[in-house]
């Protein structure tokens, strides 16, 4: 919304501030002034429309000027009406009778005011009017249309002028109605566009006898093509009406039509403005205030009862932490067009003007007082509190611990989008027999976004692995080896519920560009196990990671994904493990075995075997580790691989000698030969 500096001076004659100073003051009291643009001898100060969405009344030079005056503590005045120079006295009221019927719900057309004027001479507008329109981005059309636009800019009340002769060639009576459009009714608009109307659209129509009335304008948005003002026009119908803001907004969206008029109606306009604006437009054109008697004013919705709010100066000063005396407070309210009746020394009753429907309760008035006072001048205070710490959020603490651990383990945290494409919609990672795999679990339609930003972002994700994979592939172009992780919420639809379940996922991906894939696998597993170990968790140790296929990128990629809600209850402080006083005894065992024999189950089977053997000291075998794993060319041809396992023995009260543990190793060797066709090396 633009504010003309020169026009402002007409409302605030004592104004000495520069546009920049006004902008600064308005930014504090109302909204940010986005730009100050010189236009000829004037300046246009612009406020973003979005910033005024709660103040429909401010799409008006008058009310904006009032705001400036209040913010600068200067006197606001209504300027006198400027008459158009060219032979004004020739314009008269009309002998044609004007009748206005409102044939909609009162809520849809609360008020319609109109007048017919004769002896119009259509011509160019004076320069001052052209300039004033220009500064608001409106071009001059002709004196009649320009006056309607001028009044709209001045008061925020859109007017429309029709060629009354075109509407009503011969009759003594012109009857206008507002009504809902008929099904399949069409209207050609001023801009040449033909609009196919629905019964939810409002039209202004002319009535001719008993025939169905003809639409002449799309109410509140744009006039029709048929009765537009031309150089030949000598008789006009001036419309100044009020239409329902929601209906206008809906029609505007429905047909993709926007105008200066619709912009204002959508925000909500005070119905009391129609008559006032119409009278001023009439006087501007005709030079006479005596044509008022020709106005027809149909008020279908009685004006709302005025709101009054009682205020107490002490309460205001407490709320804002200010020390304003009642007079200062009252002056601020009066400057903003509120009516104040003093009740006692500290209390007063405030009547809210009809153009401020946004003011409903005392907090709204506190804001009016506060913003003009300037929040930067308010002395800040701090609420008192109890000394107890706030409630802990254990999930947040878990996540932060995981971040720290992952960072120590060389993991880099990423954040990827919650949006995904159709191919990945409904996919989650599922554990079957301790192995993770991606599966389509949910119907994509349950996750579909109605208005996505792009087709490839048409769904909400249910797993983080796909997007984490995508950024892995990007990083693989530049880095040979890395671990990425992400912690985030995903969306799992729940049958018969609007709100989905939101698992807290931790997803980890490890990438290596070259080398033995087994090494890459072990690297990720080590990270996973170390993480669990540091969280004091003894579960999920058997989980095998996801193998992530890389189509064109070289190397291998593995991943894990887990819902932290499973982890949280298991997270515990690390417990001290008594440290053995005596050293561990090692015995290594090297052997060749079938290349396809998985190592994990082999080690488990050895431990299982040893646990059933009645050999002395067998109970002190505490751990079997993999020390070495390799395959040379010869072994490859035989489909064999070589393993070296380290057997660790720990007795609680003494050192075990080699002689005491060798029988166990030999026993294991025999087991391997017998049960697994191993060749001892």
């Amino acid at each position: 919304m633009k504010l003309s500096y020169n026009w402002l001076k007409e409302f605030v004659p004592s104004l000495t501030e520069t546009p920049a100073q006004i902008a600064e003051s308005l930014s504090h009291s109302l909204a940010e002034v986005e730009s100050i643009t010189p236009v000829g001898a004037d300046f246009a100060l612009e406020i973003e429309n979005k910033a005024l969405s709660h103040r429909g009344d401010l799409f008006s030079q008058t009310e904006l000027s009032r705001e400036v005056a209040a913010s600068l503590s200067r006197k606001f005045e209504q300027p006198s009406i400027t008459h158009l120079p060219s032979n004004p006295k020739s314009i008269t009221g009309s002998s044609t009778q004007l009748q206005i019927e409102i044939n909609t719900d009162a809520d849809l057309t609360p008020r319609y005011s109109g007048i017919i004027l004769d002896h119009i001479q259509v011509g160019p507008s004076p320069k001052w009017l052209v300039d004033r329109l220009l500064i608001h981005g409106l071009r001059s059309i002709n004196n009649v249309v320009d006056v309607t636009n001028y009044i709209m800019l001045k008061y925020g009340q859109p007017l429309h002028a029709f060629d009354a002769t075109e509407l009503n060639p011969a009759n003594a009576t012109l009857t206008i109605e507002t009504r809902p459009a008929r099904t399949n009714e069409t209207l050609v608009l001023l801009n040449g566009q033909t609009v196919n109307l629905t019964t939810d659209d409002l039209v202004v129509a002319k009535m001719t006898g008993d025939q169905p009335s003809t639409a002449i304008a799309l109410a509140g948005i744009m006039g029709g093509d048929a009765a537009q003002i031309s150089e030949q026009t000598t008789q006009i119908l001036l419309e100044s009406a009020n239409f329902n803001m929601y209906a206008i907004r809906a029609t505007s969206r429905r047909h993709g039509l926007r105008s200066e008029a619709s912009l204002r109606f959508e925000k909500g306009i005070d119905p009391n403005l129609t008559l006032f604006a119409l009278l001023e437009a009439t006087e501007m054109l005709s030079g006479s205030s005596e044509l008022n008697t020709n106005v027809v004013d149909n008020v279908s919705k009685p004006p709302l009862k005025e709101t009054t709010i009682k205020l107490n100066a002490d309460e205001i000063n407490y709320y804002l932490n200010t020390t304003q005396n009642p007079e200062q407070i009252i002056n601020t309210l009066v400057a903003l067009d509120f009516n104040v009746d003093i009740l006692t020394e500290k209390t007063f009753s405030v009547t809210i003007p009809s153009h401020r429907p946004d003011v409903k309760q005392k907090e709204d008035l506190y804001e009016e007082i506060g913003r003009i006072y300037d929040y930067n001048k308010i002395v800040p205070t701090l609420p008192q509190r109890k000394l107890a710490p706030p409630i802990d959020n254990s999930m947040w603490q878990l996540k932060n611990s995981i971040r720290q651990l992952m960072n120590q383990l060389g993991g880099n945290e990423v954040l990827t989008y919650s949006f995904t494409d159709q191919a990945n919609a409904g996919i989650i990672s599922v554990l079957t027999d301790n192995e993770l795999a991606l599966t389509q679990q949910f119907e994509p339609s349950l996750l579909k976004i109605t208005n996505p930003i792009a087709p490839e972002f048409g769904y909400l994700r249910s797993s983080i692995i796909p997007s984490l994979t995508a950024v892995t592939l990007e990083n693989a172009k530049r880095f040979k080896e890395f671990t990425l992780y992400e912690v985030g919420l995903v969306t799992h639809p729940v049958l018969n519920k609007t709100l989905p379940d939101e698992p807290h996922l931790l997803s980890i991906i490890h990438y290596t560009s070259q080398g033995d894939p087994n090494q890459s696998l072990v690297a990720l597993k080590s990270t996973w196990l170390t993480l669990l170990n540091q969280l004091g968790i003894n579960q999920f140790l058997d989980w095998q990671p996801l193998l992530i296929p890389l189509s064109e990128t070289p190397g291998t990629c593995f991943g894990y994904e887990i819902d932290l809600r499973q982890i949280l209850p298991l997270w515990q402080a690390l417990q001290f493990q008594p440290i053995a006083l005596h050293p561990t005894t090692f015995q290594d065992l090297s052997f060749k075995i079938d290349a396809n024999q998985p190592v994990g189950p082999l080690i488990e089977s050895i431990l299982e075997f040893v646990s059933h053997r009645p050999l002395p000291n067998a109970a002190y075998l505490i751990r079997i580790s993999l020390i070495d794993l390799f395959q040379n060319e010869q072994m490859q041809t035989q489909n064999e691989k070589s393993l070296t396992l380290r057997l660790e023995f720990q007795h609680p009260t003494q050192s075990l000698s080699d002689a005491e543990v060798t029988p166990i190793r030999e026993d294991i060797q025999q087991y391997l030969i017998d049960q697994h066709h191993a060749t001892i090396r």
Binding site: M406, N412, I449, F479
Partner: protein
């Protein structure tokens, strides 16, 4: 063996990094915790009731246009603001209470250096009796100054009036680093609207204030990041800098 050479160049060690957004979240949440605020996480997908109706957005009101909200076919909404948790707080916490809520938010905005469709907020709510506007300004200026000191930002602060349906009065804290020309909108805030208090089932003797810090903006300010799009790029060249 080569002779000892103390001048040998040494590379940086490859350590892991948490995301700068989460680093900011941790620090800011910690500051608020020190001031007495409990920390919660927002639901990512919520319903119209939480996102709009209980926040004084009337049906069909143009204020709903202020945010370009995404909708699921199911009718549920990927949240456009963490204020979507205000009603939950009002109905699940006995006043007086103080809480901050972290959440990923979504708005239909085309990507460019300063606009994103996916962003991060830290909502805050304080509810008690006879809460004052000066308490709101004091709490937020204190928090902003603490953040400024912790990161040595030397921020200048100012308070402007603004509008959101769920606060009345509505304000915004703006910040500026020395040498910066433009002011940055840092913390939109306000006194909780009486209708929001009512929708939360509390009687009118309770009031309070609320705010939402834009964590991305703050992160960019702290680290001098010039393009928002790096935050979701997953690019190690970016992430390893923090």
């Amino acid at each position: 063996m080569l002779p000892l050479d103390k001048t040998l160049p040494a590379p940086l060690k490859p350590i892991g990094h948490s995301h700068p957004i989460n680093q900011t979240y941790t620090t800011v949440a910690e500051i608020f915790r020190e001031m007495g605020f409990e920390l919660l996480q927002a639901r990512m997908v919520n319903d119209d009731n939480a996102v709009f109706s209980t926040l004084n957005f009337q049906k069909n009101h143009p204020a709903r246009d202020l945010m370009d909200t995404f909708y699921l076919d199911s009718g549920a909404i990927p949240i456009p603001h963490t204020s979507s948790m205000q009603n939950w707080l009002l109905t699940h916490r006995q006043p007086p209470f103080a809480a901050v809520i972290a959440g990923r938010c979504f708005r239909s905005e085309k990507l460019d250096p300063t606009h994103e469709h996916t962003f991060y907020q830290l909502e805050g709510m304080y509810v008690n009796q006879n809460v004052r506007v000066s308490d709101l300004i004091g709490t937020l200026k204190t928090a902003a100054t603490t953040i400024s000191n912790r990161y040595q930002l030397d921020l200048e602060l100012k308070v402007l009036t603004t509008y959101f349906p769920f606060v009345e009065p509505g304000i915004e804290i703006l910040a500026r680093k020395p040498g910066m020309d433009k002011w940055l909108e840092l913390i939109p805030a306000g006194m909780i609207h009486p209708q929001v208090i009512k929708a939360g089932g509390l009687d009118a003797s309770w009031n309070g204030f609320a705010w939402a810090i834009g964590i991305d903006r703050l992160t960019m300010l702290i680290h001098g990041i010039t393009d928002l799009r790096w935050l979701h790029s997953g690019d190690l060249r970016f992430l390893q800098q923090f």
